[in-house]
């Protein structure tokens, strides 16, 4: 293979979704040179690009207080009031910055700018244009495989330029990980690159995770499609295969549908949409209608089959634990943003979808970019001359003899363990432990024998990251012996006040779990 491509900058951003773009813009505005490497193409990759996202913002004090109060309730005791306020304020300000720079938000019927929704393809293409205008070096199809360290400090990353067939090495004064969540191989919109790579790379250096048990959110898709957009189902009724209607008590939609899905196929019809709604849905959320149009179905009039698809940590809340307000993760020189971070601050035990996640990506993107810039500036211009060592382990540097392994096998295992409703949505100690023993065995094989070059190394690293996130998720799910938010334990169906605390994981091989405040202490106080 040819010599690696060499890239040098003050700040390196890894990822190409909104969090990565905002991080790159913030670092650039702070006066740093910035390289951004994405696994896919900045503009189409990540969860936002194909989806459309609602945003979380407040232009009045009253609305801000209301948004926070709503989330305090649904978070089931795990959210952080101060961080919610910071996120809402920063995102609101920067949604207006987007408008000022030329993003074409629509206006509502009163003529006011409507910043509550971002059209995925337009928003991401616009962010790409801002990066180019700002002078950020954008490298598409350059997945990062591992971090580089200078002593204890993160000093860059290395990866594979998959369209050039060449390795790359990037030196930087600070690194931002914005590689998104982990979708466990689920076929949902935008999930192709979302294998949890950033979580693995950071954990290899000792970063900790939290909220990984909240990785059991499921979305509705028209059967045989990838379109897990929730909005149209606001106006849906649900039916069994025999056409009988499924009663859904308020707030119980997913639990009821998940239970029903175990006994037979499900159907839906958007028959609660009346008046202006069908037209606004069709024109406002056209991606939702692609499966219907292509199958010749009128979803407002006809029943159509649906399925539930796992959404991993993308609409869950688990990820790297934030160590400070600048989105450092406790390793000098390393910052993280967006879905790579845990989002219990804003969502707790509930999903952060529907607005908070999009605003979190903006806010944490900005904070991490600024934090990385300040770190790099303190190091000065000669940071790139430090001797570095690669930090990647599993899939790159086997603990025992190297063997030819098929990464697709590990991916298939992750899908089999993490996607079924009866394993992940409804959890029980025996199924969690059975899954864990198989996932652990696959992890051990990859750890002991996995090694590859180029495209094989890339796929092995994705497999390692998928396995790592799956093992964290089920370990945390096994340790949280109660039901809270999206984490539903059939063998412990109630919430336990003593467990109303966040659960932290440290380590990959043998993760150590601890509640942020020991349950005994909480119970005693």
């Amino acid at each position: 293979m040819a010599e690696p491509i060499q890239l040098t900058s003050d700040v390196l951003v890894i990822g190409g979704g909104p969090a990565a773009c905002w991080a790159a813009l913030a670092a650039r505005e702070a006066g740093c040179s910035v390289v951004l490497v994405d696994k896919g193409y900045v503009g189409t990759s990540g969860a936002t690009a194909p989806s459309n996202t609602g945003t979380w913002f407040a232009t009045t004090k009253e609305r801000r207080a209301k948004l926070i109060a709503e989330r305090v309730k649904s978070s089931e005791g795990l959210a952080d009031l101060r961080q919610m306020g910071r996120v809402i304020d920063t995102a609101t300000q920067h949604l207006h910055v987007l408008a000022e720079r030329g993003y074409r938000f629509p206006r509502d019927d009163e003529g006011a700018l409507y910043i509550a929704n971002l059209r995925g393809p337009d928003y991401m293409r616009f962010l790409r244009q801002l990066l180019v205008r700002a002078g950020v070096t954008v490298r598409d199809h350059h997945p990062a495989l591992e971090l580089l360290t200078a002593g204890e400090v993160v000093a860059g990353a290395a990866g594979f330029a998959r369209q050039l067939g060449q390795n790359w090495e990037a030196r930087a004064g600070a690194v931002v990980l914005a590689t998104g969540g982990c979708a466990f191989g689920s076929r949902i919109l935008g999930a192709t690159g979302l294998t949890g790579d950033g979580q693995l790379m950071a954990a290899e250096l000792g970063a900790r995770l939290s909220g990984m048990e909240f990785s059991s959110q499921y979305g509705i898709v028209p059967l045989h499609s990838s379109v897990n957009k929730g909005l149209p189902y606001f106006w849906a009724s649900f039916y069994r295969a025999d056409g009988s209607a499924i009663e859904i008590p308020p707030g119980e939609r997913f639990a009821v549908l998940a239970r029903e899905s175990l006994s037979g196929p499900l159907q839906a019809r958007l028959d609660r949409a009346t008046g202006a709604v069908p037209d606004a849905l069709r024109r406002g959320q056209p991606n939702c209608f692609l499966p219907f149009e292509r199958a010749g179905i009128d979803p407002f009039a006809q029943l159509f089959p649906i399925a539930l698809r796992a959404e991993g940590t993308v609409r869950g809340t688990g990820g790297l634990k934030r160590a400070d307000d600048a989105c450092g993760v406790g390793i000098p020189g390393l910052f993280a943003a967006g879905d790579t971070l845990e989002r219990q601050d804003i969502a707790g035990a509930a999903t952060g979808g529907g607005g908070p996640n999009a605003s979190w990506a903006i806010a944490t993107g900005l904070w991490s970019g600024k934090g990385a810039a300040a770190f790099a500036q303190r190091l000065g211009p000669r940071a790139a001359e430090r001797p570095v060592r690669p930090a990647g382990q599993v899939g790159l540097r086997p603990a025992a003899d190297a063997r030819a392994l098929d990464p697709a096998e590990a991916v298939a295992l992750v899908r089999a363990e993490m996607l079924p409703v009866e394993r992940n949505f409804f959890r029980r100690a025996p199924t969690l432990n059975a899954s864990l023993s198989r996932l652990d065995a696959a992890w051990a094989t990859l750890r002991d024998h996995g090694q590859g070059e180029g495209a094989t190394a890339f796929r092995l690293r994705e497999a390692a990251a998928l396995l790592a996130s799956s093992r964290w998720a089920y370990r945390a799910a096994a340790a949280r012996g109660e039901t809270r938010g999206m984490h539903r334990r059939l063998d412990a169906p109630a919430g336990t006040p003593a467990l109303a605390h966040r659960l932290t994981l440290a380590g990959i091989d043998q993760p150590v779990l601890s509640f942020d405040r020991p349950p005994q202490e909480a119970a005693a106080s």
Partner: protein, 121 residues
Amino acid sequence: MIEILSASRCTACNVCVKACPANVFEAVPGSVPVIARQADCQTCFLCEIYCPVDALFVAADPEHVTGITEDAVVAAGLFGGYARALGWKKGREGGADADPTHRLRQASLTAMPTGPRSPAP
């Protein structure tokens, strides 16, 4: 999954090769690109709107190849359908400012049969 790259419509501009986030297409010197890694397709439909001449068709099924033919896509008028719905033209963005999603929010605040807990975004 991506199923059709129409050789008769395609101008070999290779935009799809660059823009597909899953790296599904492969450029072919002197010819139109090929769908080289179909199984990697994430069924995001975005290559369709990036193609300047509406030469691509993505079937909705992310797991199985449906085998739909180019003639059937033409007959159903499906080439360029997503771009038209968004207001994108010739691979360029457009139409975000005409998005009527705000009407959904209004509608969700009034007269919801089963009363969702919070309004639609």
